[in-house]
């Protein structure tokens, strides 16, 4: 296939562009719409329509299977404001994001810097740290659950060796959310590492040499003067992406704790799932989705603001 493309490419193109026959021009003017039609239709059906739909639904009392729906204005939002579960869920989500983002970003950055600071075994380390990103999270969540088993788990077994009685991590309301955070960091660090590695590679070597000539003799000074300022756009970018991804946390919560014990690990998307797909309260679930969207939108705006600044600087 690529051979035929090469041959077509090597065919000499006449210097003077031939005037195209009118029929061909006409054909060309309609074909673009034919080419984009399937994509546009599906986009409206599966993406933009549903997005408008979720916002509209959030102002209704629709329940799946109900014969009719009525417009109830902001009632879902009022209900949400008075619902303790919603506030717990929102707080837990923010705690989760607040822990996982710094944890996974700093781990990713540290690992990337360490890998890049030497030449030995680079690709082996990169592979190992990237492994959790690839592995099906649900399967690994089940493994983590067993590792955190209060009695037969590896974690408490190791703690026992040093004389500490570990808690029942996922069954204890004081620790459940934090255990999920640990799994989140473990899973996301390698992804951030890859993004940081790409950023580090693009820093010109001469800058380090110049810094050294200017008296930045310690590794820390070179990091502070060269690496950190040049890596800042990448870092902000990684922070925002990690934020968006951790806001979407669902898999580990649903399989390991179902938001429990007593809502201590309930998070936004899990509440939305429960309301929308277990109780089939579509309207209320849609309102929860809108709240989730507002947070994602905020993070996205930060991201595009940064991207624009990056373009202006370039």
């Amino acid at each position: 296939m690529s051979d035929s493309a090469a041959t077509i490419g090597s065919v000499a193109v006449p210097d003077a562009v031939l005037p195209r026959p009118a029929t061909q021009r006409k054909r060309l003017s309609l074909t673009p719409y034919g080419l984009v039609a399937p994509a546009l239709t599906l986009m409206l059906m599966m993406l933009l329509g549903p997005l408008a739909g979720v916002i509209a639904l959030s102002f209704t009392d629709y329940q799946l299977g109900a014969p009719s729906l009525s417009w109830i204005g902001l009632a879902n939002y009022y209900e949400m404001a008075g619902d303790k579960v919603f506030w717990t869920s929102l707080r837990n989500t923010l705690v989760y994001v607040g822990i996982v983002v710094p944890g996974a970003v700093m781990t990713g950055l540290a690992v990337a810097l360490l890998i890049q600071s030497g030449t030995g075994l680079r690709s082996l380390y990169r592979t190992i740290y990237f492994l959790p990103v690839m592995a099906t999270l649900i399967a690994m969540a089940v493994v983590w659950e067993f590792m955190l088993h209060p009695q037969f788990g590896l974690v408490n077994g190791l703690l026992r060796e040093v004389g500490i009685a570990g808690p029942s991590w996922l069954q204890d309301r004081a620790t459940a959310l934090y255990a999920l955070c640990a799994i989140g960091i473990w899973q996301a660090a390698g992804f951030n590492m890859v993004l940081f590695l790409a950023g580090l590679v693009s820093i010109p070597k001469q800058l380090y040499e110049a810094a050294e000539i200017d008296g930045a003799s310690s590794a820390w000074a070179r990091f502070r003067l060269v690496t950190w300022p040049l890596l800042r756009p990448v870092t902000t970018f990684v922070v925002v992406i990690s934020g968006i991804r951790s806001f979407q946390v669902f898999d580990t919560v649903h399989v390991l704790t179902k938001g429990g014990p007593s809502k201590s690990s309930e998070v936004l998307i899990h509440t939305m799932y429960t309301e929308g797909f277990e109780f089939f309260r579509s309207g209320y679930g849609a309102a929860l989705t809108v709240v989730f969207l507002v947070f994602i939108l905020l993070l996205t705006l930060i991201k595009s603001a940064i991207a624009d600044r990056g373009i202006q600087q370039a």
Partner: protein
């Protein structure tokens, strides 16, 4: 200037730190394999040991395959991910070509919609898409698993960026050879864009092989379960009683992607890092 002793000291420190981190990263995998290789008496013992006294991996795998139809679930995973990717290409490539190489009224507006679409997280459209599939009467089917993902705005964006760098001469020459615009997409653009298609393919397959949220919502029937759903159900049925078999099942489910990853690491890292652009 650095002293050689300094460098080797740092090199040792670097390896110690990276190995320490690597142990944490690998621990769940190692513990999974270790537990999957232990008989129940050793799994339920408070004494920690990595290497089983009696090697029971084969038995645990047999139990896992007997209790859950793992072959069927793996096959479902293949059917769903391959159909999604094939349909994504079928829909995205012509659109990407039109956006990259053809002039038409509304092109910029359409591209703006694509860029906007990239920002919409999949959870946001779940309720209306679910209601739509319910109306169409296709819930609990392969169609329900595949249809919502046939449109990948990210794929359109990625391919459009790549197609823009394909020389116009190539397209013009193909036109002069009498190839239709639709033909150009598949016979000229696709072959030129194989690296981008591969990266997008890895991104797409990994995302949908590992997806749990959507199959959980639209499926009821056991025989349609995708691998992550299968692990979750296995866990609900067996947790607390048969960890060895559960870990063996988890191993089976993650094996296909991990093996593919280890065989083509560079491509996988590139493909997954694409999500960073999103």
């Amino acid at each position: 200037m650095k002293h050689p002793a300094n460098i080797s000291l740092w090199s040792v420190t670097r390896h110690i730190l990276l190995i320490a981190g690597a142990i944490v990263m690998l621990l769940p995998f190692v513990w999974m394999i270790s537990t999957a290789s232990k008989p129940p008496s050793e799994v339920f013992s408070s004494e920690l040991h990595l290497i089983p006294h009696r090697f029971a991996l084969w038995e645990n795998l047999q139990v896992a395959f007997a209790k859950a139809n793992l072959w069927r679930f793996l096959l479902n995973g293949v059917i769903v991910t391959v159909s999604i990717f094939a349909l994504q290409l079928l829909v995205a490539l012509p659109a990407a070509y039109a956006l990259a190489k053809l002039r038409f009224i509304g092109r910029n507006a359409l591209f703006a919609l694509v860029l906007f679409g990239i920002l919409i997280p999949p959870q946001a459209t779940a309720i209306p898409v679910f209601l739509l599939l319910h109306k169409l009467g296709v819930l609990d089917s392969y169609a329900a698993l595949v249809l919502p993902f046939t449109i990948s705005v990210f794929g359109i964006f990625l391919m459009r960026q790549f197609f823009r760098n394909v020389p116009d001469d190539l397209v013009d020459a193909a036109r002069m050879d009498g190839i239709s615009e639709f033909g150009i997409v598949w016979r000229v653009m696709l072959p030129a864009a194989i690296p981008a298609v591969t990266a997008f393919g890895i991104f797409s397959v990994v995302a949908h092989w590992n997806d749990y949220f959507w199959p959980l919502i639209v499926l009821n029937s056991e025989h349609l379960r995708t691998p992550p759903l299968a692990v979750a159900h296995f866990r609900n049925a067996e947790a607390g009683t048969n960890y060895g078999a559960l870990m063996a099942a988890a191993m089976v489910i993650i094996a296909p992607l991990l093996v593919a990853f280890l065989l083509a690491q560079r491509r996988f890292v590139e493909g997954i890092a694409l999500t960073g652009i999103k």
